[in-house]
Symmetry: C2
Subunit: 265 residues, 2 copies
């Protein structure tokens, strides 16, 4: 139910007095309502949401207003429009892009897919710094994974794999109850797709802090580089709906054959 500020009441919307969202443009209120449905899981990933006309009727606003709300949600990658078919909830599960947030590109333009190797997966208590980032209490249950991303090396005989990324991943235990090494290994497709379908956790956006540092002995061994070799350290915090942090990931990238690609606007 749209709510308008006292002075700006476009007649048609003068009906409901409901204690809704704070006064804001109508389309932003609609955007908020749609976001709530997404958050609540009324419309699931990969499903179509109601048509624009349907939503317009439901919310008692014009199609143009619904349209503007959906425009913004599509710009934020929460929805995907497909002409002639409908508007769909964005998903990681069926996307062709293997790694949603990974910006690493090989020096030669090839689009080699990286293979995964799970190193370990265990339940633990959150250290203070991890807890702070995930906005949980220090000592709360977390799942800790470590894994390698490897690049197939066809020049070697027989075919070998060169480690490129070492990831350490922390997830809040409360959200990822049944997560085990087996389930991870069994699951085909991107990890974020699994989080979505198996645990109902959808990653919306992320923030990264990037540094250069020297490999310590353990990391050097896993990445097959000399100890002290320069590595790219990428600390990523990922968020779901409502800007809630749900994953902390610390990656070490070997940038001798790859680079991190960024676009600035």
């Amino acid at each position: 139910m749209p709510v308008q500020p006292p002075s700006s009441t476009p007649a048609h919307a003068a009906e409901a007095g409901e204690a809704g969202p704070a006064f804001a443009p109508l389309y932003q209120q609609i955007k908020g309502l749609i976001t709530r449905e997404l958050q609540a899981g009324t419309w699931k990933p990969a499903e179509a949401i109601p048509s624009e006309l349907e939503l317009a009727a439901r919310y008692k606003v014009s199609q143009g207003t619904v349209r503007k709300a959906i425009d913004e949600l599509a710009a934020e990658n929460l929805l995907v429009r497909r002409q002639g078919k409908g508007t769909f909830v964005a998903t990681h599960a069926e996307q062709h892009i293997q790694y949603r947030f990974l910006r690493l590109m090989p020096d030669d333009g090839s689009d080699q897919r990286l293979a995964r190797r799970l190193l370990d997966c265990r339940r633990a208590r959150a250290p203070a710094d991890v807890a702070r980032a995930l906005e949980i209490k220090s000592g709360d249950a977390v799942v800790q994974l470590r894994r390698l991303l490897l690049m197939p090396d066809k020049s070697a005989a027989p075919a070998a794999e060169r480690p490129v990324v070492l990831d350490e991943i922390w997830l809040p235990g409360a959200l990822f109850k049944g997560l085990t090494a087996e389930r991870l290994a069994d699951y085909k497709g991107p990890m974020y797709g699994m989080f979505e379908t198996e645990f109902g956790v959808r990653m919306i956006r992320a923030e990264e802090k990037i540094r250069a540092l020297a490999a310590d002995a353990a990391d050097a061994e896993l990445l097959a580089v000399p100890a002290g070799a320069p590595l790219l350290s990428v600390e990523r915090l990922s968020f779901t709906y409502g800007d809630k942090p749900v994953e902390l990931r610390r990656g070490l990238y070997n940038t001798s054959g790859h680079f991190y690609r960024n676009e600035l606007n």
Copy 2:
């Protein structure tokens, strides 16, 4: 003059047959026309462009169509809307942001401004790799600058400056004719502001390739770190209108007290 595909002619636009842009939505054609004016310099940075109604009349389309075109240009940071005042050409010259594309943040949240120190500025012939990036011929005239960005260190007595960034910048000589060390040193405000007002070159967007590498002896000395220390290498190619590359910048960042911040959507 709007051009419509054969079957979709909204009557009002049926007039001109001019050999314009390929058939596309009206608002995109308008967007193209506005972009051309910006490119040609008809409307200069920081100036207001004509009002939406004025443009609508000029192009013989409705205000809503102009609006959508401007919406996109504003989203691309080419224009800035200011309610009640008008729509303005974006500029670097008067912005409060010191460094348009620099994503470096201090570990403590302080927003310390970095000082500049010009190391050298000379005309040279473009090496092959630089020429390729800038899309000029190998051996063409270029301007090469090197400079440091320094962070004021208040813990030292007396106040010292700690080098954080070492930049090596290559500019096509044809576009930056009168650029000298003196003019650079004299100019207050951001370098991109100077490029804009003095040389009519406006940076629109950039692409970066980021790696970790070990400091060589010369770089280590300039950045006051041990030789072999890990540094962030940021190679940035900046573009003006028409995706024309106009600056190649190779930066070495000391990330012991700062980090490169990125947002992923």
